[in-house]
Symmetry: C2
Subunit: 425 residues, 2 copies
């Protein structure tokens, strides 16, 4: 297919539609059972990491710390140094957590809700609360701010990050806007990388709320598929711009070692970190230090860790290429959908004709292929134009993906050509 | 010493005081550096658990769950069954967390503060909040309720648990009282075990607040030094009394395997659990499942785990006996102090003459022996009578303890005899 079908004759459309419906029915008869719904690593990818489950031979950490015992609220010095060197941030701004960076984001919002920060009132006492949600984005981010009762404001994404004209205008004038969710490198789901200009504007923009905060979830910061894409240093830029406490930086090894047993961290301005550690010291005596040592024993140092990431990239690349190539082959040029070709991360985002995403996901599900729910990539689970679908190619094998993507393209044809036909009826 | 010194002549007291001061000065000259401040396991005790750091050979969990990957919000089925069988509670009431039960307590208070429970208003919207603190008790419990702004009400401990007449009277009449902290077996610091009657009264008592909650921190539930002491089942008793959602039960393997890498859990009524899981599902995708498998690989089953606890008890018993025997030998019958002889747990509590605890701890510190700060066992860190001192004998060796306890007894003599002399001056 290459003709833009929006301009085709009704007869041509009808013929293509009938063919797509036939193909769909034959897929249905195959009783598929495939899952492209979440960014779960595949079994083969996890196998690359099995060394991270080996016996921990040495439990003595730097500074004569017995990692088996209590203590070290901010995490082991060597773990903080490892993260700091790998990510290019000061180890003294880092706090190491448990296995979930999402948990650290949630707890950060909790602290802001209950206690506030830097002498500003607790967010629970601020009346109406709003949060900026660049969309499409990560559903679990939006779920947190929804649960805490924020009004979530959708900000469109551009090829270099959130629409900064809109962001600047909003935060300058509305003190109820307390923060923004960002996945700055290989964004979920579009794979967009924030440009240096966008990062600098976020760091320096004028905010009506003195306690406006950037939640910088660099989940895919080292997850390059085709070599490194650079990301500007938000913490440094915030400091230079005179807003040293504006950003909270999150990262984890969930997709480096194991989602079910990794190590998470966050970093921030130094005053925020000191304030947080006081609160965290009431919440816990310290995170799992043995898993920090175990993870370090496996990843060793940033150079070795990045080589390990290259092995993971090798297992992921054919999957992303299957997704993009199948879309190109089956839908390319038809105008029925558009998509991105991400250079890293975990997702491909597809935009169908308006009003078709829900139907496509439903058709795929009825034929045995589970996708992320349409709408999930927008606040409140509501995609205003019903176009965006997130594809998570990491879990299935390449063979399974080939099949699932063929079905997916058939579903797009059934739904989108069906829509074009209805519009002409 | 065996004469009750309160009745001794001033001359006798002066002689004993001078001798104690001489002894104290000679201890000081030895430049000791010992720590009896926190319930930290000793290196030798941790060595007993080193098998829990062995290679994890099998990562497939029950129900074909790959523990390396995402999922299983409530924890692995086998981990919940293990805890359930060991503690005599229904595995379907359990949620497994990270490495810290304190963290689960804190997060539970957070959920009550921000969201409330069972349709009752969020605690943050309830105005004045109060919490019952049986004392002496655990300073980290009190720190949580202090941080959230509760007025903490001290409830005296009796040999079978909190003073239940006082508890019942308070909770019946004051809807601002939202909960009570309990360490029901081998309480911290006195080693008191709640009687069946006390547990039943807690479960059945009439509460003005419909959302009154018992925080049941069974930290020492399997930490017997001289055979098992039975504890009534709070969750069952609450259910029988028609208050199925009243208790939150907490437990962890911090002092079974490693404080720096154990597994924590909580249990509750089924409706509370369902409500919690919804919130926890916003906070995280799941706790570290590999550490659950690793811990199970080491502890195997409740029978084997209890045998492991007997090994730990063997390493702890001589320490507790050193503490109690030294106190008996040096202070017994003098009336200068009283103490308990706990049958499990991690602490011995000593009560000096009124107004002496702070001075004793200060004297010990100046001679190189760090104790838990006097007052720490009471809300706001303020022991109204300044008598209670918590001894944590787990970390030092027996030899170190012998020395530290001799010094401690000398400090008691210096401070308490000094007080008796001042009163006569």
């Amino acid at each position: 297919m290459s003709e833009n079908l929006c301009n085709s004759s009704t007869a041509v459309l009808q013929k293509l539609y009938d063919e797509a419906v036939r193909q769909y029915e034959s897929f249905k008869a195959r009783n598929l059972k495939l899952d492209m719904s979440r960014g779960r690593p595949a079994t083969a990818q996890l196998d690359i990491c099995n060394g991270a489950m080996n016996t921990l031979d040495c439990w003595m950490a730097e500074g004569n710390v017995d990692a088996r015992n209590y203590g070290q609220l901010a995490g082991l010095a060597e773990m903080r140094r490892f993260f700091g060197e790998w990510l290019g941030i000061d180890p003294d701004t880092i706090v190491v957590g448990g296995n979930s960076s999402l948990n650290m984001m949630y707890d950060t919002v909790v602290r802001l809700m209950l206690f506030g920060t830097m002498g500003n009132p607790a967010w629970k006492d601020c009346g109406k609360l709003k949060f900026l949600c660049p969309s499409p984005g990560y559903d679990r981010h939006f779920a947190i701010t929804q649960d805490f009762g924020f009004e979530m404001i959708t900000v469109p994404m551009t090829p270099e990050g959130p629409d900064m004209d809109m962001v600047e205008d909003l935060v300058k004038n509305d003190p109820a806007i307390k923060g923004i969710w960002c996945v700055p490198l290989y964004s979920n789901p579009q794979g967009i990388c924030y440009s240096d200009t966008v990062v600098a504007r976020l760091a320096g923009m004028e905010c009506a709320a003195p306690d406006f905060r950037i939640f910088w979830d660099n989940a895919y910061g080292v997850h390059h598929l085709y070599g490194e894409t650079k990301l500007a240093n938000i913490l440094e830029l915030c400091e230079k711009a005179g807003n040293p406490e504006r950003a909270y930086y999150f990262f984890s090894t969930s997709k480096i070692t194991f989602p079910g047993g990794g190590v998470a961290m966050m970093a921030s301005g130094k005053a925020s970190r000191a304030e947080m550690l006081k609160r965290i010291g009431i919440q816990t005596i310290g995170s799992d230090k043995l898993n920090q040592l175990r993870t370090l024993q496996f990843l060793k140092d940033p150079q070795n860790a990045q080589q390990h990431m290259e092995k993971i990239a090798e297992s992921l690349r054919p999957k992303f290429e299957t997704v993009v190539n199948t879309l190109e082959r089956e839908i390319g040029g038809t105008g029925l959908a558009s998509w991105n070709s991400p250079r890293g991360g975990y997702f491909v985002a597809v935009d169908t004709l308006e009003g078709c995403a829900k139907e496509v996901v439903k058709l795929a599900a009825e034929a045995g292929v589970v996708m992320t729910g349409a709408g999930a990539t927008f606040p409140y689970g509501k995609d205003p134009r019903d176009t965006n679908i997130r594809i998570a190619p990491s879990f299935p094998t390449v063979q399974e993906l080939e099949c699932a993507m063929e079905l997916f393209c058939v579903c797009i044809k059934v739904s989108c050509i069906g829509k074009l036909l209805r519009e002409r009826a």
